[in-house]
């Protein structure tokens, strides 16, 4: 049968997935702490061609392409000064930990706020999950005698966690990740001692997505998609000719 149909079909399907990933990157161009991702393509099975030649002559034909993996690019985004005392950013490696859905989730988004339980105030993520300290505890905000919250000591309280392989973290949405076997165990970094990690207050990390890069990706993905569609058309026309022989 006409293999070109299906081969070009795998191309269209893969580039559609690619486009989905790129569009997610672009729509998160202003999301704090967002990490861009990219599709990893893999060539599919290669088989012997169906001709009556002796085997082992390496007359091979491939059967297309597939997206096998979505790879996160854990490069740092640009730092943006906000002067808001509950905004934090990690310069260098590391993640904040928040307690969400009964597990520890790790994120680079440091746009925190105050959450109140009873008469105690805690530092929380925008959705209300508690931000955790080095030891995995909630961070209670200290008040001075006038009832004003002391924000100066927060930098020392917030935990920063390091992974041997941050690219191996499992994404959970909400710019948060979960530790996996591949990423290794989270290790608390002492931001005072560690040379590669520094916690900044009043600063936010923007999305690591570069719009110019993504637009270039959009163009190549779209071209690849349309060229594959063209091949399907060609294969279809060939079938049509064959069908009209009689």
């Amino acid at each position: 049968m006409n293999k070109a149909f299906y081969t070009a079909g795998t191309g269209m399907r893969s580039f559609q997935k690619d486009m989905d990933i790129i569009s997610n990157n672009i729509s998160n161009i202003n999301t704090v702490g967002y990490k861009g991702s990219r599709a990893s393509f893999r060539e599919l099975l290669v088989t012997e061609m169906d001709n009556n030649e002796a085997k082992n002559k390496n007359h091979t034909e491939g059967h297309g392409v597939d997206v096998t993996d979505v790879q996160f690019i854990m490069e740092s985004g640009q730092m943006r000064q906000t002067e808001y005392p509950y905004d934090f950013a990690i310069a260098g490696d590391g993640f904040f930990a928040v307690s969400r859905d009964d597990i520890k989730q790790y994120t680079r988004a440091g746009n925190f706020k105050i959450g109140t339980v009873g008469n105690k105030s805690y530092l929380t993520a925008p959705d209300g999950s508690f931000v955790l300290s080095d030891k995995g505890k909630r961070i209670e905000l200290k008040k001075d005698e006038n009832g004003l919250i002391d924000t100066d000591t927060l930098v020392e309280d917030i935990g920063v966690f390091l992974f041997t392989n941050p690219e191996g973290l499992k994404p959970l949405g909400n710019t948060s990740f979960k530790e996996t076997e591949v990423s290794g165990k989270a290790k608390a970094a002492n931001s005072k001692k560690s040379g590669t990690t520094k916690l900044l207050q009043g600063v936010l990390e923007s999305s690591s997505v570069n719009l110019a890069d993504q637009m270039a990706e959009v163009i190549t993905a779209q071209r690849a998609y349309s060229l594959n569609a063209k091949i399907i058309q060609t294969a279809d026309q060939i079938e049509e000719i064959a069908n009209n022989l009689r």
Partner: protein, 287 residues
């Protein structure tokens, strides 16, 4: 008799094979390290076209013996071949362009050479692992990753090999790849050197996932002795870079148009032969 049928059909089948291969090239237009393939066709063994010479049978008996022989003589009018077959499916090995990915596990080779990845243990006919050494795959696709134990892997294939046929323990994402292929692991210690081979392209067999294997039957020198490929030392490797495919999409598109038209021409030839046969079957009989 109806050889025209088969000739035109073999042309059509060949165009179909062209299209299959170029659609694969097109589908892999964004696969790192992919190398585009071509189909080279040739003709089936030549056969001699002949013309039957001779005189009218009326005067046949009056002829001399020699002339009688000449009546049966056939004159060759040149060689021809009615069938087209696949001669070769060569791979184009020229360099693809490099793309910066900002991902530490991505590697690209500038110039010649292939990464070497250890595949799975070969299986015997019943599906049990044999004792033969695992297949070594060569590839230009440097879209690597790290496994649970901290080794550099090619996803879906296996662990990447160093020049002493061991694995490379990079430990984490902070490893450093030098341009000569040597690697410092995440702790800054030496973790070996990438095994890069640069075999003769004719000695390679094409596998899936843009991988190749060295075919021991082909990898022989002129005396027929097997060639053992050694580490290639003139390499330049780059980290956080991926080599794109070398498929030239505009050329593939041009070939697709050519394929379509050639297919159409062959189909037309087939219809013509059919019409001729139709005439022979109806009009000659009607005389």
């Amino acid at each position: 008799m109806l050889s025209g049928f088969y000739t035109a059909t073999s042309g059509m089948l060949m165009q179909q094979r062209y299209l299959n291969v170029l659609s694969d090239n097109m589908a892999n237009a964004r696969t790192p390290g992919y190398r585009s393939k071509r189909v080279v066709s040739s003709t089936f063994d030549y056969e001699l076209m002949i013309r039957q010479d001779g005189l009218a049978p009326k005067s046949f008996n009056a002829l001399s013996d020699e002339a009688k022989k000449a009546y049966f003589a056939r004159t060759g009018i040149g060689a021809g071949s009615p069938i087209r077959i696949v001669e070769e499916v060569p791979t184009e090995f020229q360099q693809g362009s490099m793309e910066n990915t900002n991902r530490p596990y991505d590697m690209g080779i500038v110039g010649e050479g292939f990464f070497t990845v250890e595949g799975k243990q070969p299986l015997d006919e019943e599906g049990n692992p044999t004792e033969a050494p695992p297949t070594q795959y060569l590839t230009r696709n440097g879209n690597f990753n790290i496994d649970e134990e901290g080794f550099l892997i090619m996803p879906g294939v296996g662990r990447v090999l160093n020049d002493k046929d061991g694995y490379i323990k990079i430990k984490g994402s902070k490893f450093i790849l030098n341009s000569d292929g040597s690697i410092l692991d995440a702790d800054g210690k030496k973790a070996g050197k990438l095994k890069i081979l640069n075999p003769n392209f004719d000695h390679l067999d094409y596998m899936d996932n843009a991988c190749y294997t060295i075919n021991p039957q082909k990898a022989v020198n002129q005396e027929g002795e097997p060639i053992e490929y050694k580490q290639y030392d003139k390499i330049k490797v780059m980290q956080s870079m991926l080599e794109r495919t070398n498929t030239d999409v505009s050329r593939e598109m041009m070939l697709a148009m050519e394929v379509q038209r050639s297919f159409q021409a062959c189909a037309k030839a087939l219809t013509t032969v059919d019409l001729m046969n139709q005439k022979a079957a109806t009009q000659i009989a009607a005389l």
